[in-house]
Symmetry: C2
Subunit: 118 residues, 2 copies
Amino acid sequence: MTLPHPNTDQISLPIVLGVLGDPTRLAIVRYLASKEGVPLNCSQFLDLGSKTNLSYHLAKLREAGVTRAEVVGTSRLITLRRADLDSRFPGLLDSVITAAGDDAALPMIGGHNIEVPA
Amino acid sequence: MTLPHPNTDQISLPIVLGVLGDPTRLAIVRYLASKEGVPLNCSQFLDLGSKTNLSYHLAKLREAGVTRAEVVGTSRLITLRRADLDSRFPGLLDSVITAAGDDAALPMIGGHNIEVPA
């Protein structure tokens, strides 16, 4: 089973910005960026909301082209589409991650650098 | 008469991103950036929508801290809050403006570099 993702050239600036305009989704992106190269699964974001709520936010990020989700057994492994976003919108993801990193108003996962038990 | 604006330290990342997640508002920001230093009034954006519609979008941008609107007589002179945004979120506005500049899907004002008659 594969989930639908936009191609790189289908990633839309207003849609990406709109999807990032949410504290929970920004917190997810910040956490993914802090763990870059390590695919994470949904349960690692449970500090941010219920499973239903997270599924909704993770689908929004995937459908906008911000993240990739691979179905592996019963898990979905989630990564940032950094290369795709950097090629479409140079500098945008980095500036968002930097700003989100400084934003104490965003919800946190663990101590934000601390592993959360799955 | 002065209109309400957030202070620089009240400008919120998720709110700014959410407000920029709209084609008309991105087109307004792109146009303001192309005329930087020249305050524009509402009538210069009429290619993008009705006056009522523009008032709504311009209020959203002002309330988020993206633009400043000064009431001068019967006009509102609108400028980008570049210095404030750059100090809050370094690189963000530039990356958005660059990406918006390449985005043929956004609505245009005139030829986007052509003066629109008031």
